[in-house]
Amino acid sequence: MNILEMDDVHTHVMAFHILEGVNLAVRQGRLSILLGRNGAGKTTTMKTIMGLHPCTSGKILFKGVPIQDMHDFQIPRLGISLVPEERHVFSSLTVDENLRLAVRKGKRVRQDRMEYILDIFPPMKRLFKKKGKDLSGGEKQMVAVARALVNGDELLIVDEPTKGLAPIMVESLRVALARIKKSATILLVEQNFDFSTSIGDDYFIMENGKIVRTGNVDELRSNNAIQAKYLGV
């Protein structure tokens, strides 16, 4: 079942035609990776799904429900969480407060969700009272992902999580995402080819605001020709 579908989506940002008819379908329970060179339109795609950029035409369906005309704050309530490229962990709030802010139903993070989060990210245990601005880059990334898990959302959209992270952090992030994908669908935008293909199931390659190729990640990993054509310099 396709949890997310984009049907001929066009987006203009100011005068620029960024997305020129994006067609993609994210299958539920799989980790889909969105690849492409810089400027291809990957982040704009993420933002369009989340309603942060209104699309000029086309349809976006979440579990069969059209969401392209919804306000940006209504979309997360449907069960979609964003882990943004810049993380946006609130620096004057503690980690605990950052998580609590994300809670949509109720005042605190549900006990079972908290256990799940601590299971995925054990180091979080000692970070609760730390303020966002006192976190290292890796810790911020961890909190940003943890925040997206707070409500048990079915779809996670993760934008360039390994950016600026030390290799050891990248590895623990990889392990975390591999575990998270067992209970949620993930749409991942990531420049790091090895990282994304090691955990990805399906891939989409984006070029000039369009999806130009899609398929199974196993096929992509071994196919140097495709890699060179779409992702090479």
């Binding site: 989340m50 704050f73 004057s92 709030l93 802010l101």
Partner: protein
């Protein structure tokens, strides 16, 4: 005459002035920090709080009742202004500024129309008149009341910011409105709420001010100037900065007013120039 008594008196006077300034600035600073809207009409809202408050107090024969009612009414003013006027101009900071600026004319002139241009001194209720003797120096009861009000409001705001979900949203929203929306929170509704709180704070401040310095149609403009200077000293966007600056300015005015009375009026500006030349972004400001 003991000089400790004198210093204490000057200190307490300064503290009460500082608390009054804090009350006056709090609504403005909150709205600016969260909405990034410079509400030039805040002084006029304060003035409305004063005039309305005094009027209600005699109509209802109740000081505290009038205080509460004034806060609610001015909060409503602010909500209406945000919802019908400011909201139309989101994204355009210059015009938001000009809008609130235009509101000054409307609010101030309406007061002149209703209550006339005269300056009227107002007496606080009997139980707040008179003074205490502290170490041989008189300290008016009303100033004590101001300090108490200041602390109550300060504590309430602290509790709101740090112990409620709304406060969480406000603190986060000050940093990144987009991310708050990305978490599924309708921040526009919160804007309206915060404007309401700002209005209520302004109403309360005006009420307290009215009984302190009397009513005058110049009040609005005079206060907004004070507010702007204090907020600049404290650092734009920092609520703690505003609070600190308010106290500092109050204390400075008290001591300067005693030792160098000719400079009293410009004391506030001197503090601003001094602070800005050392730290251009203000005490707690982050540029």
């Amino acid at each position: 005459m003991s000089s400790t008594g004198l210093y204490l008196n000057l200190f307490l006077n300064g503290l009460s002035m500082g608390m009054l300034y804090f009350l006056l600035c709090s609504g403005f600073s909150l709205v600016f920090g969260f909405l990034r809207v410079l509400n030039f009409a805040h002084g006029s809202l304060i003035m409305w709080g004063a005039y309305l408050g005094v009027f209600l107090a005699s109509a209802l024969s109740s000081f505290s009742g009038a205080l509460a009612l004034t806060a609610i009414i001015i909060a409503l003013f602010a909500v209406l202004i945000e919802y019908f006027l400011i909201r139309r101009l989101y994204g355009n900071e210059l015009f938001q500024l000009l809008l609130t600026f235009g509101l000054i004319f409307i609010l101030d002139q309406t007061i002149k129309l209703i209550w006339g241009p005269a300056v009227t001194p107002i007496q606080p209720p009997r139980y707040l008149q008179g003074s205490l003797m502290i170490l041989g120096e008189p300290f008016t009861l009303y100033r004590l009341f101001i300090i108490a009000m200041g602390m109550i409001i300060c504590t309430s705001i602290y509790l709101l910011f740090n112990k409620t979900k709304l406060g969480l949203i406000i603190r986060a929203g000050i940093q990144s409105r987009e991310m708050v929306r990305a978490l599924g929170i309708d921040i526009n509704r919160i804007f309206t709420l915060v404007c309401g709180i700002g209005g209520a704070l302004g109403g309360i401040a005006g009420f307290v001010l009215g009984y302190f310095s009397g009513l005058s149609p110049e009040m609005g403009i005079n206060q907004i100037i004070n507010i702007l200077v204090i907020v600049v000293i404290g650092g734009l966007g920092s609520f703690t900065g505003t609070a600190a600056a308010a106290i500092i300015v109050g204390l400075t005015e008290s001591f300067v007013g005693f030792y160098m009375p000719e400079f009293a009026v410009v004391g506030i500006f001197i503090v601003m120039f001094v602070v800005l030349s050392i730290k251009p972004s203000g005490l707690f400001g982050e540029v």
